[in-house]
Assembly symmetry: C2
Homo-oligomer: 350 residues x 2
Amino acid sequence: MNMEEDRMISMEDGAGGELMGQLISQEILPLFKDGQGEVSLEDLDDSAVLGDIVVSTDSHTVKPIFFSGGDIGSLAVCGTINDILALGGMPVGLTLAMVIPEGFRLSKLRRILKNAAEICNDNEVPVIAGDTKVVGRDDLDEPIVTTTGIGRRHQLLDSNFELAGGRKYRWLSDKNLNPGDKIIVTGTVGDHGMTILSEREGYGFEGEIKSDMAALLEVMDTALSVGGVASAKDPTRGGLANTLNEFASKSDLGIIVDEKEIPIKRWVASAGELLGIDPLNVGNEGKMVLAVHPTRAEKVLKALHETKDGRDAAIIGEVVEDVDGVVLKTEVGGHRVLEVPIGDPVPRIC
Amino acid sequence: MNMEEDRMISMEDGAGGELMGQLISQEILPLFKDGQGEVSLEDLDDSAVLGDIVVSTDSHTVKPIFFSGGDIGSLAVCGTINDILALGGMPVGLTLAMVIPEGFRLSKLRRILKNAAEICNDNEVPVIAGDTKVVGRDDLDEPIVTTTGIGRRHQLLDSNFELAGGRKYRWLSDKNLNPGDKIIVTGTVGDHGMTILSEREGYGFEGEIKSDMAALLEVMDTALSVGGVASAKDPTRGGLANTLNEFASKSDLGIIVDEKEIPIKRWVASAGELLGIDPLNVGNEGKMVLAVHPTRAEKVLKALHETKDGRDAAIIGEVVEDVDGVVLKTEVGGHRVLEVPIGDPVPRIC
């Protein structure tokens, strides 16, 4: 190998955007024999399918570890539950592995564990196995929490089949989109990423800032009970922009999004302007993006408005055949391509 | 909370010994509702059971990340495969989550991934989902690799039922021991921990040092095909001493071990003397400790001697009723209690 090839890993390699996609597809996938599952490593979904089981894993490195609306423990549990839900699974258990720096306060560890346990207990998703490692205080700055979720096929996926216009999907894979499907986002975007960044930078935004962190069991149960959902994805690293582009590229279709329909909180928009960061590019931790059959989209939307975490849901766009990638109809009437962020502009948000 | 309660986390809290057990039982278990599985979080096994699925997770922080006989990637895969096997599972898939410090060389990442993939591919255990995070170079010294394994019940566990003298175990839990069971260790002990420590301290031991790292599918297939295996456990953190004590305490029985029967490589014994560390207290990454029905123990041993990773297997002791804990019959004819190590004397060995 020449020196040029042996580059150094950069923050963007782990930011959920295009560079991370390259790293995974060029360096990781060629090495590992594929598991031949219906949704396997090669599909680059957040979760994978093994028979009737969905599995998803995430190492959480969020900094600060305590933030408005959550902390690394509850975030890890919510994030993994949502990844299982996004593929059409029902989470039935989690594993929790912690790496803790020596000298970390037991009181802080207790808070992290208590918050994680609250989400697990409230949602009846037990932690079934764990691991605890301690490393030197000079070797790691803050704890790392890795959660792996195990799910079974959601029982409502079966009833969903007929409602989705005759299409049959065993799982809500990213590649299931069809022309005409409506794109629903289940609430305001950018809250989590902007919270983390604002706290790091010391901006307060008059006390409004709060992560949207939530476990979306009710949201997904509700959407699936109406039916017509072809795909679902939680827009974490890389934000809504990344999620829509993954939908488009994996389904080999285009998506047209109406910018004015995208729900964004006022403080998030202000923070975005102040910090020069597009809220569509930053991570969410309590949202789903759904592709829904046109005959069911309004019904799904109405039902979501009755849920705790779906009150602000909106239909923001449509899947089309004659467009490449994701095109944003801007508020002033123009069009622009909504690109895959090179990397999440906010590192360590999850 | 008073200041005394709010102590700082120490290396021993993550070392697999008594302090880690206290941390888990006092701080973690009371918070989380139990999953009600046959082997759940409360059993404090390395793996847990969910219906007919075994799940196990481990964050790997080994340092140095490349060592004689392996590296952090292959170690993570072997360790997780062995944890699944130890409960009587057959590994069917793994997840792999990496946290990498910014500035880490791509060439090193490639080596780690290549070595991990080799173990996965050779043993037909696919990686089905992954995660990649990058954190600042000042925030983490070396990559952390977290693997979670998913397994199904080993098909040989069924044939095992009748052979085990009428006892029926759906899983090879730590608490299955019965008086009279023979304790088999599948090879020499202390190799891995002593390798890591020797490399860190710069001792060479004439080039003999090498970790025992191995995925033990053949070893477990072989033992289960003979039958009579009640429990199995891989003696990682805390070594053989910790494993035997867990067997004894969870089964509420005693174990008598004949010190002269414990297989130990010459260089491991020398390193132990030089460094003042008991090889029975340091971790292994390619060994199983089995409790086997007395009528099958010799047959299991003979079959293990024909396997690649079980050549040096030995019967080292017996389960008894009238003893508390683990008692070592020393080579000079005395007896001493083999205690649970307070913490592994070698941190970051896995």
